[in-house]
């Protein structure tokens, strides 16, 4: 069977090879690799499409190996594995310790804070922070409700996506 993956790699020499080498060693065939260095995600990483062939067991081993190596798999056979969630919080970010907010989110299974942007206001109690979260597909509801909970505990106004 064939599997089409989209991986997200850092724009550093050797990254692609590091991902591809073990696939061959596990006994899977690499059928195609589409690697466009000029297409970058907003975090500066590069999405790489690869198609691999092998029996089910081998392909599962490949997926596990990629995960243990910390390589982000964004899509498997056209199905998104990760989704991006953006939220904005308004409130006294410094007093309420933004790092703690990030930690709470990172502790959720399959959830990772990917980007954080702060804008201080003339009134510190109205400062704004934007948090971009990457989560395993299907976890969006959990993440948004967790953010709401954090918001009500810390007195932030939460602006979630529609």
């Amino acid at each position: 069977m064939r599997l089409k993956l989209v991986l997200e790699l850092l724009d550093v020499p050797g990254q692609l090879l590091d991902a591809l080498n073990p696939i061959g060693r596990l006994g899977a065939n690499i059928v195609a690799v589409i690697h466009q260095r000029d297409v970058k995600t907003e975090r500066g990483t590069i999405p790489v499409q690869i198609t691999i062939e092998g029996d089910e067991e081998t392909l599962n081993k490949v997926l596990k190996m990629l995960e243990t190596k910390g390589i982000q798999i964004i899509q498997v056979d056209g199905i998104l594995r990760k989704e991006k969630i953006t939220t904005i919080l308004i409130g006294n970010i410094i007093d309420q310790d933004v790092k703690d907010t990030v930690n709470i989110l990172n502790q959720l299974d399959g959830v990772r804070v990917a980007d954080l942007d702060l804008k201080m206001s003339d009134h510190p109690e109205h400062s704004a922070s934007k948090i971009i979260i990457e989560a395993d597909y299907g976890r969006k509801k959990l993440v948004t409700s967790k953010i709401k909970e954090i918001g009500s505990n810390k007195g932030f106004l939460v602006i979630n996506e529609v």
């Binding site: 953006t86 904005i88 308004i90 804008k119 704004a128 106004l157 602006i159």
Partner: protein, 337 residues
């Protein structure tokens, strides 16, 4: 059809104005004679079985501020309830100011009209948000029609649209911008980078925001509409207190800038679904149907068969709101034949 209007502010006057503009046309097209037999404002009333002239009534109200100064037929001190006891009419148009504490006096007006076998058309959100079931059941028990298209989204068709045009579909959720004032403020803040207070002042100067803007900016008005949509379109049985409400007064230019950087706008969104009843500022994509500017309202209905259907329209304004009331009156007259 003999019509009685209670409440003669912006919406009531709009209704009189569209009667004046459209009466001949409606008679011709629908064989419906709109006869205004009684109108009450907070200070008095005018009653005439032969019919009140809408143009003269509007002129009187503009000149003296009270409908009871209407020549010959004006009466001072008569209340809405008195009117409903004395006048022979077919349809009540209830357009008194919205009261979201107890829905009065509109609730009593509507119940009285229904209990005496009269149809009711309203734009009044208060009683609908607080006691929708009571009103709907009373109308059913008395076998009269109860229409309230104008209560949500002004001229934007949504309630009749969902109940009639999309009647074969199950509506799974509704997301919408249901308040024009806040949409104006947020759109201006996004465009000009101005502060909330500055923009609110500007909106007040332009009569887009009221002197006491709380109902709009704190999301209360939108929350009433969420309740009306939940009850009328999604067959839920909820009231105002079931809605989680957050307004826009804490929105800062900095937060709007952060949103913009990611391709988002901040809008006050009402959400109606079986999981959640909520009014809160939300991030919407700049290219999405929610990216409307000015005082426009918009709503997306997620349906099982037709997928997403979006409607956009003017959410406020005297004539615009009256247009929805007129449609309701016409639809009642059709069902009476």
């Amino acid at each position: 059809m003999r019509i009685c209007i209670i409440g003669f502010g912006s919406v009531g006057q709009g209704v009189a104005q569209v009667f004046n503009m459209k009466r001949d046309r409606i008679k011709q097209d629908y064989d419906l004679d709109l006869q205004l037999v009684a109108v009450a404002d907070s200070k008095g009333a005018v009653i005439s079985e032969e019919g009140i002239n809408p143009a003269l009534l509007l002129e009187t109200k503009q000149n003296t501020g009270r409908v009871s100064d209407y020549p010959e037929y004006g009466v001072n001190g008569v209340t809405g309830m008195d009117l409903l006891d004395t006048v022979e009419y077919d349809c009540l148009v209830e357009v008194t100011p919205t009261n979201i504490c107890d829905g009065e006096p509109a609730r009593s007006h509507m119940l009285k009209a229904m209990n005496t076998g009269r149809n009711v058309v309203t734009s009044n959100k208060g009683p609908l948000a607080l006691g929708f079931t009571e009103l709907r059941d009373t109308a059913q028990d008395n076998n009269v029609m109860f229409k309230y298209e104008a209560s949500v989204g002004g001229a934007m068709p949504i309630i009749n649209f969902a109940q009639e045009t999309l009647s074969g579909c199950e509506i799974e959720s509704i997301y919408g911008i249901l308040n024009g004032t806040t949409n104006y403020i947020l759109s201006r803040m996004a465009k000009e980078g101005s502060s909330y207070n500055q923009t609110l002042n500007e909106a007040q100067e332009m009569n887009i925001a009221e002197t006491n803007p709380t109902q709009d900016v704190e999301g209360e008005d939108a929350a009433c509409k969420v309740v009306i949509l939940a009850n009328s379109i999604m067959n839920m049985n909820v009231t105002y207190n079931d809605v989680m409400v957050k307004g826009i007064s804490q929105i800062t230019p900095e937060s709007i800038q952060l949103a913009k950087k990611e391709g988002y706008l901040i809008k006050l969104i009402g959400e109606v679904s079986h999981d959640s009843l909520e009014v809160s500022p939300r991030l919407v994509n700049e290219g999405s149907p929610f990216a409307v500017e000015g005082t426009l309202n918009v709503a997306t209905l997620k349906t099982d068969l037709a997928d997403d259907v979006t409607v956009v329209g003017k959410g406020a304004g005297s004539i615009e709101t009256a247009s929805a009331i007129l449609s309701d009156i016409i639809s009642i007259s059709k069902s009476m034949i």
